[in-house]
C-alpha cells in the first residue's frame, strides 16, 4: 500500500533542507535581533499550525479553540517565570512581599495553592505538556465518544476558548486578569531579556520546531496517519472496519493540543509575557488561517504560512497604521479564492514539477519520489 520506504522523500527533503537553511542560516544572518525576535514570536504560532495540519488537515477535525492550549502552555511557563521574578527582594514595596504584583493589587495575601508547584521548573515543563493533553483528552472524549464532529465540534471548541478567556479575565487575583502576566525577567537566574538570550531562545525554539516537524511527519507516515486520512474521507467505513474512530480522533486532537502548548510556552519565553488575548476566539481563528494559508495538508506549508501571514501583519501595520486590517483581509480573500490549497498548493502545482523535471533530465530515476505521497485520498 505504501511504497515510501524513506522517512522524508526527495521533495520533502528539499523542503526540510530549505526550511533549515532559512531558519538557521539565512534569517539569523540577515535580520537584526529585533526582527529575529519577531520571527521567534511568529514561529511559536507555527507549532499550533503544525498541530492543526495533523488534526484538521489529516484528521478532518477543525478546532477553533487552539488558543486554549496555546494559553495553557503559555500561562504555565509564565507562572514559573512570574514566581521567579516575584522574589521577596523584588517585591518588598508590596503589602505582601513575595507574591506576584497583581495578586497584591487584588488584596490576596498568600500564594494560591495551584501556584505553589510552579516554583519547580521540572513540574512546569510537565505541566506544559500534560495539562493541555489532559484537558484536550477530556474535551475529545466527551465529544468524539458521542460522535459529535464537524461544525458542532468547531463551535464547541470556540465556546471553550470564550469561556476560558472570561475565566482568566474574571479571576484576576489568580491570573492577572486582562493585563495578563507581565514583567517576566529570568529563567533560573538567566536574564531572558538580553539580546544574547533572544538569540539562544531563537535557536532553542527552532530546534523544538524541527522536533515537532519530525514528530508530525512520523505520525503522518505511520498507519495511524493513514487511518486519520481514511477517517476524514469515510468515517463510517473506518468504523465498520473495526477501528475505534473516537480514539484516533482524540489522539489527533491531543497531539495538536500539546504542539500548541509547546508553542505557547516558547511564546512566553520569547515575548516576555502572557495574556488572555492569546486564548480567545480571535487568536484561535487566526491560527487556523495560518494553516489555511500554508496549505492544510503540508507540515512545511504550515510553517511558511505562519511566517508569511505574520510578516504581512507586521509590515502592513507598520506602513499603513490605519488601513492595514483591510490589506490583511484582502490577502486572506485572495489566498482562499486563488489558491485554495495554500502555499503548499502553489508549490506542488507550479514549482515542484519543474524541480522534478530538472532531476529527471539529469537521468536520476528514483521511482518513488515522483509518486504523490502523504495523503492518498487527496
Amino acid at each position: 500500500m505504501i511504497t515510501n520506504s524513506r522517512f522524508f522523500n526527495r521533495s520533502e527533503l528539499v523542503g526540510l533542507i530549505s526550511l533549515v537553511l532559512l531558519l538557521v542560516v539565512i534569517l539569523p544572518l540577515t535580520l537584526d535581533i529585533f526582527r529575529l525576535n519577531l520571527v521567534a514570536k511568529y514561529l511559536t504560532y507555527a507549532f499550533v499550525a503544525i498541530g492543526l495540519v495533523l488534526c484538521w488537515g489529516y484528521g478532518g477535525i477543525l478546532s477553533l479553540g487552539q488558543g486554549v492550549f496555546f494559553g495553557l502552555g503559555g500561562y504555565a511557563m509564565a507562572m514559573f517565570l512570574k514566581l521567579e521574578a516575584s522574589s521577596a527582594a523584588n517585591t518588598k514595596i508590596q503589602s505582601t512581599p513575595g507574591i506576584p504584583d497583581f495578586m497584591d493589587w487584588n488584596q490576596l495575601t498568600q500564594l494560591p495553592f495551584f501556584w505553589k508547584p510552579f516554583h519547580s521548573l521540572p513540574f512546569t515543563f510537565l505541566a506544559i505538556v500534560l495539562a493541555p493533553a489532559f484537558f484536550s483528552f477530556i474535551i475529545g472524549a466527551a465529544m468524539f465518544k458521542r460522535r459529535v464532529g464537524g461544525v458542532y465540534f468547531a463551535i464547541i471548541t470556540q465556546a471553550i476558548a470564550a469561556i476560558l478567556t472570561i475565566l482568566i479575565v474574571g479571576q484576576q487575583g489568580y491570573t492577572g486578569g486582562i493585563n495578563g502576566i507581565t514583567d517576566l525577567r529570568t529563567l533560573l537566574d538567566w536574564d531572558i531579556r538580553t539580546d544574547h538570550a533572544k538569540y539562544v531562545l531563537y535557536f532553542v525554539e527552532v530546534a523544538f520546531l524541527f522536533g515537532a516537524v519530525v514528530v508530525a511527519q512520523f505520525i503522518r507516515l505511520t498507519k495511524l496517519g493513514r487511518i486519520l486520512v481514511a477517517m476524514r474521507e469515510q468515517e463510517d467505513r473506518v468504523r465498520f472496519s473495526g477501528y475505534s474512530v473516537a480514539n484516533f480522533k482524540i489522539f489527533a486532537f491531543c497531539a495538536a493540543a500539546v504542539f500548541a502548548a509547546i508553542g505557547g510556552a516558547m511564546f512566553t519565553l520569547n515575548v516576555g509575557f502572557m495574556s488572555p488575548s492569546f486564548v480567545g476566539i480571535v487568536p484561535s481563528i487566526e491560527m487556523v488561517i495560518y494553516t489555511a494559508v500554508g496549505g492544510r495538508l503540508s507540515i512545511f506549508g504550515a510553517v511558511y504560512g505562519t511566517l508569511l501571514v505574520n510578516f504581512a501583519k507586521t509590515s502592513l501595520s507598520e506602513t499603513f497604521p490605519q488601513l492595514w486590517l483591510f490589506g490583511l483581509g484582502a490577502l486572506f480573500i485572495a489566498v482562499v479564492l486563488a489558491f485554495p490549497s495554500g502555499l503548499a498548493g502553489i508549490w506542488a502545482d507550479n514549482i515542484q514539477p519543474r524541480i522534478d523535471r530538472l532531476f529527471a533530465s539529469r537521468g536520476e530515476k528514483s521511482g518513488n519520489g515522483l509518486i504523490a505521497d502523504g495523503a492518498p485520498a487527496e
Binding site: F34, V169, G177, S317, P321
Partner: protein, 438 residues
C-alpha cells in the same frame, strides 16, 4: 497664573535654565511675561551651561546615545490603537498629540529641531503594543513615545521601555501603584481623581452612604478600594452600602439597579468603562432613577463617552476629572478652537485627550531644560518642569513622574458637555503608592 514664580527662581537655579532657554524668537506672550519675571533670576544664569545660549545646539551635544536626532529633526513615536475596540477612545489622544506636535513645530520645534513622528497601531492588542514599542525604540530610535491608553497596554510596554531605556508619555487616568523612570504619567493617578471628589460630595451633598460600581479589571477595583478606605476611615460616619463589578462589555445592570433602589444610597459611585456605560445609564433612566435627584458620581465618563451614551441619558450626573472641554480659562479658549479646526467641529475633547496633549509639550519643555534629548537626562530633568499653557491650567511634574494637577467636579448637561461645579483650590499632589489606602 499667580504661581509664586519669583521666589522659586531664586531658590532653584534649574528653573533659571528653563527660563533663559525660552529666550527665543517666536514664543508666545505668556512665555515673554514669564521671561520678564525671570529677569530677576539673572544671577542664576551664571550657572548655565554655555550651550544654552546657542540657537541650535550641536547634535553631538544633545544626543549622546544614538537617538534619531539630526541637525534639523527629532523623531518621536505615537503608539495608540487606531483599530480594534479601543480605537474609539484612543483616537482623541492621537489627534491631541498630533495637534501639539504641529503647534510645537510652528513655534520652531524642540532645541531648534522639528518634530517628526512615526505612528504605530497597537490594534487594541497588548502584545502588539509591546512589539510596536520595541520597534519604535530599537528601529526608529524615537527620542520619546506618546502612547498607550489602557493599563494592560501600559503594563505590556513597560518592561520594553525599561529595558531599551525609552521615554513614554502616558495620558490616561489610571490606578497608580506604578512609578518608572521611563514613564511620565500625564493623567491622574487614582487618589488625585477620587479623594477630592468624595470630600466634595460628602461636604456639599451631605452624602453618608455610597454604592460602589465598577467594570471588573484592575483600574476600577483599585479605585474602589481607595474610595472605600477613604469613605470608611476618613469621612465621618460614612459607609459603603454595596460594591459590585461587571465583566468588561457587560450590558445587564437591572439587578444592581434594583438593589440600588432598595438600599437608597446617597451616592452611586460608578466606574464603568467603555460601551457598558451606554447600557448602564439607559437602564438607570428606564428604571426611573432621576439623576437630578439621585446623586451619581463617576470617574470614568468623559465627554467622549457621553457622545455614545447620549447627553439626555446622563444629564445631572457628576464626574470627577481634571479637565472638561467647557473650562473657562485663556489656555482652553485657544486650545478648543485649535483642536476643532484641525479635527472638525463635531469632535469632543475629554479628560484623556487633554492629558495626551500635554505629553509633547512637557517633553519639549523638559528637553529644553535638560538641553539634551538623552533619555537619562530627560528623566532626571522632568521633576519640576511646569507647563503654563496647559488647557487644564497650570501643571507641574512631580518627583514621582506624575503631574500635580487640580481635581474638578463637573455636572453633565443634556448637550453632552460638563458644567464646572467645583475645583480644588490648590494642585493635588500625585501619590501613586498612597499610604493607608492599600
Amino acid at each position: 497664573m499667580s504661581h509664586p514664580r519669583l521666589t522659586n527662581a531664586y531658590l532653584e537655579p534649574l528653573d533659571g535654565v528653563l527660563m533663559s532657554d525660552e529666550i527665543k524668537p517666536g514664543l508666545k506672550s505668556p512665555f515673554r511675561r514669564k521671561l520678564l519675571q525671570g529677569m530677576v533670576a539673572l544671577p542664576a544664569i551664571s550657572l548655565l551651561p554655555r550651550g544654552a545660549f546657542a540657537d541650535v545646539p550641536a547634535t553631538s551635544a544633545v544626543n549622546t546615545t544614538g537617538l534619531a536626532v539630526t541637525d534639523t529633526e527629532v523623531t518621536v513615536g505615537i503608539l495608540h490603537s487606531v483599530t480594534g475596540t479601543m480605537a474609539i477612545s484612543e483616537t482623541g489622544s492621537v489627534e491631541a498629540e498630533k495637534l501639539a506636535i504641529e503647534q510645537i513645530n510652528a513655534e520652531g520645534g524642540v532645541l531648534g529641531r522639528k518634530i517628526k513622528f512615526v505612528q504605530e497601531d497597537g490594534a487594541s492588542d497588548w502584545p502588539t503594543f509591546a512589539e510596536k514599542a520595541k520597534k519604535l525604540l530599537v528601529n526608529d530610535k524615537c527620542a520619546a513615545v506618546m502612547g498607550c491608553w489602557t493599563s494592560a497596554s501600559r503594563k505590556a510596554v513597560l518592561p520594553v521601555f525599561e529595558q531599551y531605556n525609552g521615554m513614554l508619555y502616558y495620558p490616561t487616568f489610571y490606578e497608580g501603584l506604578e512609578q518608572s523612570k521611563n514613564v511620565i504619567y500625564t493623567g491622574q493617578e487614582a487618589t488625585q481623581q477620587i479623594i477630592a471628589g468624595l470630600d466634595w460630595v460628602n461636604k456639599t451633598k451631605g452624602a453618608k452612604t455610597f454604592y460602589l460600581l465598577g467594570s471588573d479589571y484592575i483600574w476600577p477595583r483599585t479605585s474602589n478600594k481607595i474610595a472605600r478606605k477613604h469613605i470608611e476611615n476618613h469621612l465621618q460616619g460614612c459607609k459603603v452600602a454595596g460594591e459590585e463589578y461587571f465583566p468588561l462589555g457587560s450590558t445587564q445592570f437591572n439587578s444592581v439597579i434594583n438593589k440600588i433602589k432598595l438600599t437608597k444610597p446617597d451616592v452611586i459611585y460608578a466606574i464603568i468603562v467603555g460601551g457598558s456605560n451606554v447600557a448602564f445609564y439607559k437602564q438607570l433612566k428606564a428604571a426611573g432613577i432621576d439623576l437630578s435627584k439621585q446623586t451619581l458620581l463617576t470617574i470614568s465618563v468623559t465627554e467622549d463617552e457621553i457622545d455614545g451614551i447620549g447627553g439626555e441619558n446622563i444629564a445631572g450626573a457628576y464626574a470627577c476629572m481634571k479637565y472638561f472641554q467647557s473650562l473657562d480659562n485663556p489656555n482652553n479658549k485657544t486650545f478648543v478652537p485649535a483642536f476643532k479646526k484641525m479635527w472638525g467641529e463635531k469632535t469632543v475633547i475629554g479628560d484623556v485627550t487633554q492629558a495626551a496633549y500635554l505629553g509633547p509639550w512637557l517633553w519639549k519643555l523638559t528637553a529644553e531644560k535638560a538641553q539634551s534629548f538623552d533619555i537619562d537626562k530627560i528623566a532626571a530633568a522632568s521633576p519640576g518642569v511646569e507647563f503654563k499653557g496647559a488647557p487644564e491650567g497650570y501643571v507641574r511634574i512631580h518627583e514621582n513622574h506624575h503631574l500635580w494637577s487640580k481635581t474638578r467636579v463637573g455636572r453633565a448637561k443634556a448637550d453632552g458637555q460638563y458644567e464646572l461645579i467645583y475645583e480644588t483650590a490648590d494642585l493635588v499632589e500625585p501619590d501613586p503608592f498612597p499610604k493607608g489606602y492599600q
